[in-house]
Amino acid sequence: MSPLSRREFVAAGVAAGAGLVIGFYLPHRGGPQPEFFSPNAYLRVTPDNKVTIVVARSEMGQGVRTALPMILAEELEADWKQIEIEQAGASTLYGDQTTGGSASIRTTWDPMRKAGAAAREMLISAAALTWGVPRSSCTAENGRIKHAATNRSLSYGELVSKATTLPIPTDVPLKQSKDYKIVGQRLARLDTPAKVKGEAIFGIDFRMPGMKIAQLARCPTIGGKVSGFDDKESKTIPGVSYVGKIGDAAVAVVADSVWGAMEGRRVLNVTWDDGPNKDLNTAAVRESLKQGASKKAASLYSAGDAAKAGGRRISAEYELPFMAHAPMEPGNCTAHYQGTKCELWAPTQVPQDCRDSVATAIGLDPDQVKVNVTLMGGGFGRRLEHDYAVEAALVSKAIGAQGINAPVKVIWTREDDMRFSTYRPTSLHQLSATLDGSGLPAALIHRIIAPSISGQKGQPVPGGVDPDLPDEAGPVYAIPHYTIESVVTETPVPLGWMRSVYALQAAFALESFIDELAVAAGKDPLQYRLHLLAKDQDLQYFTTTWKTARMRGVLQLAAEKAGWNKPLPAGHYRGVACFGCFASYMAEVVEITMEHENAQPRVQRVVAVVDCGQVVNPSILEQQIQGGIVYGLANALRAKITIEKGRVVQGNFDDYAPLRMDETPAVEVYAVPSVEVPTGIGEPSVPPIAPALCNAIYAATKKRIRALPILSS
């Protein structure tokens, strides 16, 4: 898919509002005894009344294996209890299958609804024909077509053979939200029982007969290579059957067991050619951002003319470090190369990219590579990369060349995950504002200086704008003269898309700065924000129209639920922030205590309000928002990847420490009731939490935090 990357394509599809063009395939009509009714690639009904819905996005915890089927089942008027689900592997039937950009619901909302509605209409026609009654006298309800006048009904399974003979309608009526029975309900996730019983199969759990395990020693210096290796000791480890170079920068040790592979790698002797980055360190990266500040910026958003506004001028700089996704399940993938084909079992957010990258790496055509998608122990964007899949395929091919025809599971350790990740870009933000006579900004300029993730991966950066910024750095307020601009810098440090991507950086800078302006104006920070949102206005940012009314709505509800105007207990302090990304609106109020002004803030309570249009499953929404806030608090407090001598310093959960239970606040989640088209929910709760927390710290200490993480500031 060139020249747009898949991720861009998702964004473009969402922006166009039309959903993606979906490959409706020809239905299976079978012979006289059809095996199933499948009017489109998402649905299969069998004569034994099994209703199977295919999920063409990847489950990494965000609930797609429940929420997406709910959308189709709603239009199908299915009996939710009879739904079974099937995970799609890499396919040509579903358009782009990338799971990212908080886009799964956004991009499947229309196709899943239409798929369910088309099937429903066909089943109604099938029943009407069976009974010889008008279609209009038949209704679909709870997995059956009913004819009320004669009190007859048929299950969907009973209608399979008739339905398969009917034409597939192209223009089908969709339900109104007031008639929803499934969408909007707190339905239990379908994947929960297996997960609590230890029966869920994640990528790392996949096994098959004769499978080998591989561990790779990778060059610890960014951009370095293998210059030589000695495998004598590795080969003394029981079960080690192969040691060999994979690509330029890694040596694989293949064994019969995980521990054998780990031990084989531990005693492997590799000499590295450190390459061009052996002197790289965090200070040099920081310097490159500072230098970027003087470069010409590309415009992201421009209202009025910020340079012309006169008044009191305030400016500040904010900085953020590299961060790592660190999902609980370390990287892994199983591959079986067999000459003219290769099959993979991959915990991946991008099955199609895995297929294509693997095909290129091992010299096959994409249609010779089959990718099965497993459950994922978290993704957070790390599994938008295909490195695990390519490694597994290359190792399977390499041992194949040695006469070992076997599937290979590559397993990364936690240290591998931490040191060979693709990191959230470090960034520098320069903000300046001119305040009018009432203390409100007449002008605001936000300059984002950061390396481009897509640019580093060789994808287009049209007009000097990273293709993610249009979803993640938009304007929040109706400020008369408002400029958002970006400067793309270069870094050899591998970059990746990490939960909420650039929105985390943009929100931290903007929402801390707005707080600074409120303080300078002597105004309450909530009221200050509401003033800037007082007028109903559409802010057009690339293809998204941000509505001040909806942002005002989430802020007002958050203030009300948090009791913003009520006094706090002694020693408690509050901060607020709001932000919009992935087409959703989010406001968060944080309440903290601090034992003394240099102590770690204790987050006592968070009130989070989202406007994401129609809510599909409130329980899953609550999970995503609570989880995003816990993730965002860890980012704010401690997350920092540093580089020394060209190597990532951090290695495990001791020096890169996620939040634990003792630091986790109660998070109250509210959604603004809405029947608008659903928008993103996996990521929007992450960005506001850092500035809300920092604004609370300012309220407590009068110290402004301008660099993350908080605990090393």
């Binding site: 379908l190 067991s257 978290g378 816990v630």
Partner: protein, 178 residues
Amino acid sequence: MAEITLRVNGSERKVSVSGETPLLWVLRDTLELAGTKFGCGAGLCGACTVHVEGNPIRSCSTPVSQVAGKNVTTIEGLAASNGLAAGQLHILQAAWIAEEVPQCGYCQTGQIMSAAALLSKTPNPTDEQITSAMNGNLCRCGTYERIRKAIHRAAGAIERPREIAKIDQEKRGNGGAR
């Protein structure tokens, strides 16, 4: 290589591995009990938590030789170790379902094993006791609040003797997890 005998989930299992192999890999690789997870390999995250003689331990950092001859309970045997019949859920597993705790679910078996060890000694824990018992178990999805609720729910249920929440374990029970 050594022949080591363990008692895993009530059955005697003989394994032929080197004695320093972490129990985690013996369980996952040799005995094919994949419910116990690998998260950090350093005793920092708790995803690999199992019970040895009823006490929670980090199987990633426990050489198998140390547990020779001992009773090991994994998530697969948790319900049975509490006297429940096949197919029944441990009270905590039922509470985890009722509170919809898991998101990605990867750490949850370790969380449940830590919680089970807590409840076996402290049947009705306070918030502080829960935090202290569960603080070694990381969750990147941020499910801690629901974990706390589920433990309280289970603790409440334990007060009613032998009552096990009946959870619908219909055919779709694995949610397409395979």
